[in-house]
Amino acid sequence: MSPPVDGDMLPSEHQALRLPKPPRDFAPERYKPGAADFIPSSEDESSAKERARAVRVSVWDEALTSIDQAVELRGAPAMVLRFAVQDAICAGSAGPPIRVVYEPLDPPGRDRPGADGHAGVEGLDQPEGAGQQAKSARRRRRQAIADACVVVGLREPNTTP
């Protein structure tokens, strides 16, 4: 099986993993995913700018990357959230589309186990704008995915870089 190509969409029946930072000093046992867990990071934004493509929020295709591999690749403690690709697409039904696409890692990360499953969610920075309405719309789209997430739990890599 050849590795996925950058920009190819994940099959809608696949499960994706999102690994946000664990909540800081926040009751982890009662943690509930929220819109904040799907805000594009500054790295996500700068990477998009460099490659002249849409901003992608980093996720993993669970068909190609196990939870343990994803945590190792992330290299830091993380909350592990699982969501159906289909649910993410649905969250974009109103307004700009939401797509979940493959995004091969750059070397040397590309050669590590599970690296092929790296992907990104596009459309979470849409619609553009700083006004209240645009903000609310973005928050709703993110929250819709967060609501569809199942919390797998807090995980730590075995080898911290």
Binding site: P22, P23, P28, G34, A35, A130, S136
Partner: protein, 680 residues
């Protein structure tokens, strides 16, 4: 003048010449032993800080000028080791055995200053033990002697009167000789005093000098420049006051102990001896021994300038003099004198101190300057640090370094230093290690009213003698006033006023409490740490700047402590995080103030409000989110860099959002937040 031309012996050995280890206080008996073992060179180890050097210089002088010169050079070049000097002696002596007198004087003294030279003294002691054919000590198996018949008195009767004590027999005989009458009092003190009364002035003068000299003196040095009048010396030997053993003049131990030489007389006598010996050194008469002794006497005068001039084999007596000044609470003078030793040490032609001596000097210079209040404590601390780097085995130095850190308010560094003392056995394990590093440090901190530091030190390691601090723990149970609390992993809580801290143990659980706030812990430190978190969270309404940067950074990682302490600790951790963001300019002040205003108002209304999740949002927003699995609804607040708020609430029958000021946001979400307040 040969010794056999002097006095006839009063005593004789009662059996075959002894071997191995023997004991006597009588210089007369030492003379008998020497005569019985003529082939053995004599080494006298005197009492004093320079005992080892004195012994080696004395022996090398007796072995000839060439040996004396090489041994002297070796001892001058490295005052911290005798290896080179012993090598020179080995080269010359080969398998030759020695008559070693006073080896027990090289034992460890109780004063710390002896530790400065302990390695060198140990080297010399081991070498002398190996080379001793006969060892003569003050205590041990007495040498068997009997009186020699004499027509002047009934020797057997007199020997019985002094309870067969050879030293007192010689004194009683001398008294009879000098007074023409038999002695009437037979204890050593009375015999010396009574004898002193009947001695001619010239004899007393010589005896006074020898007493003040305090150790044997070679006849060559005694006669040079008429330091001691040769005829008077001969008369003293003839009259059994002084013994000449292998060319050195010596007194019995009772003379040093009981001779009525007054303190006021001693200074001038030291001066006479110092000048005479300095002249001998200058004239190349036994220059090694002469220099050593001149230096010692100049310190005793005291003429410190001259003593410095004649310091060649270390500056221990100068250190000791500075130490005496310190004991007399003349701290400024003491510090100045320690400083002067540093200047001596820095001379390029020779070094007066080894590493330990340098450490000792440095430490006590700053110790005394601190007590004289002539230097800032930071300088004292730097001196203490330099000293432990030079002499890491010294537990007392570490103890003072730790205390100094505490007194400067550097509690974390103090504990680091304490830990460093144990690391890699820098202070090697010994029976007094914990007593000095832990107990002594704790006790001194208690004396300085440093209660919490005392707790931190007392609990730094498990101790074998926990009861030693029982009273302290009892006092803590009753309560002690403090104005600062900190424990590793916790907040640094400082108060403007003093408040009662209580620390008690019940059923293996410790509880720390202050001002109505109580925290449990597995040990005193843990309880104190928990208390600081609770106190910090209580202080949310306090001005933010009260939490220092270092603490904020330490508090940044999510710790097991905060997780186990629940919401108050989490609030406190968030506070530290926010502080870090503003102090590193990652969060604008307006944004920070808005977040704090939100929290302060919300917590004022619901003191048991759960802490929200926090994190950066888009475009510099800061997200404050109450979203819990067990509570509906969810409340999100996004605070812009300018301090404006967007809010969003969602849940069953609730879907609201808006934008406005902090007050408007609170008015909008206030009711929803009530759901996140925990039941009391």
């Amino acid at each position: 003048m040969d010794v056999e031309d002097q006095s006839a012996p009063l005593l004789e050995l009662s059996g075959a010449p002894p071997s191995g280890n023997v004991a006597t206080r009588s210089s007369h008996v030492v003379g008998l032993l020497w005569r019985a073992h003529r082939s053995l060179p004599v080494v006298n180890v005197p009492v004093g800080l320079d005992a080892d050097v004195s012994a080696l210089l004395g022996l090398s002088t007796a072995l000839g000028r060439e040996v004396a010169a090489s041994v002297r050079e070796a001892l001058e070049s490295d005052p911290s080791s005798a290896k080179a000097a012993l090598h020179e002696l080995d080269r010359h002596l080969g398998a030759q055995k020695l008559l070693v007198e006073g080896l027990d004087h090289l034992g460890r003294g109780t004063d710390e200053i002896f530790e400065v030279i302990a390695p060198r003294r140990d080297e010399v002691a081991a070498w002398l033990r190996d080379h001793a054919g006969l060892r003569v000590a003050v205590r041990g198996r007495e040498v068997g002697v009997r009186p020699v018949e004499t027509p002047r008195w009934d020797a057997d009767v007199l020997f019985k009167q002094v309870e067969r004590d050879p030293e007192r027999y010689v004194l009683a005989s001398a008294f009879h000789q000098w007074s023409g009458e038999p002695a009437s009092r037979f204890d050593a003190g009375s015999l010396v005093v009574d004898l002193w009364e009947v001695l001619p002035r010239t004899i007393r003068e010589v005896m006074s000098l020898l007493v003040v000299h305090g150790r044997p003196m070679s006849r060559a040095l005694a006669s040079h420049g008429a330091l001691l009048n040769a005829d008077v010396v001969a008369a003293a030997i003839d009259g059994w006051l002084v013994d000449d053993v292998a060319g050195s003049l010596r007194l019995g131990a009772a003379w040093y102990q009981h001779a009525p030489v007054q303190a006021v007389e001693r200074g001038p006598l030291h001066r006479v001896l110092a000048d005479g010996l300095a002249k001998a050194a200058n004239d190349d008469v036994e220059p090694g021994v002469a220099l050593l002794e001149a230096h010692r006497h100049y310190v005793k005068v005291p003429d410190i300038a001259k003593a410095r001039e004649h310091a060649r084999f270390g500056a221990l007596y100068l250190l000791d003099h500075a130490r005496q000044l310190s004991i007399e609470a003349k701290h400024q003078e003491s510090a100045t004198e320690y400083q002067a030793v540093a200047e001596l040490d820095e001379k390029s032609d020779h070094h007066a101190l080894g590493a330990r001596g340098r450490a000792y000097r440095t430490h006590y210079e700053h110790f005394n300057a601190a007590r004289a209040q002539t230097e800032p404590m930071e300088k004292t601390l730097a001196g203490y640090r330099e000293a432990v780097d030079l002499w890491p085995e010294n537990a007392l130095f570490w103890s003072r370094l730790v205390r100094c850190h505490f007194l400067l308010g550097e509690w974390s560094k103090a504990l680091d230093a304490l830990s460093e003392a144990y690391t890699d056995a820098r202070v090697p394990p010994h029976p007094r290690r914990d007593a000095t590093l832990i107990l002594r440090t704790t006790e001194r901190l208690i004396e300085r009213d440093q209660v919490v530091p005392a707790v931190l030190v007392a609990t730094a390691r498990p101790l074998n003698q926990p009861m030693t601090l029982a009273q302290f723990w009892r006092q803590l149970e009753l309560g002690v006033e403090v104005d600062r609390i900190w424990s590793p992993g916790g907040f640094d809580v400082r108060r403007h006023d003093r408040a009662l801290l209580q620390l008690k143990e019940r059923d293996a659980t410790w509880t720390a409490s202050l001002g109505g706030v109580e925290a449990p812990g597995t040990d005193p430190r843990d309880a104190l740490c928990a208390l600081t978190w609770l106190l910090a969270s209580e202080g949310l309404e306090q001005p933010f700047a009260q939490i220092d940067r270092e603490t904020a950074e330490r508090a940044r990682p999510l710790s097991a402590t905060t997780a186990s302490l629940g919401e108050p600790a989490r609030w406190a951790a968030a506070l530290a995080h926010l502080y870090e963001l503003t102090s590193t300019r990652k969060m604008p002040v307006a944004q920070h103030d808005a977040v704090i205003a939100l929290w302060t108002s919300a917590r004022a209304k619901w003191p048991r409000l759960r802490r929200p999740a926090l994190g950066p949002g888009e475009a510099g927003d800061y997200v404050v989110s109450w979203a819990y699995q067990d509570v509906e609804p969810a409340v999100d607040l996004e605070v812009s860099p300018e301090g404006r708020c967007c809010w969003w609430m969602r849940g069953p029958d609730l879907d609201d959002e808006g934008e406005g000021s902090v007050d408007e946001a609170l008015a909008a979400v206030g009711a929803a937040l009530e759901a996140f307040a925990e039941d009391p």
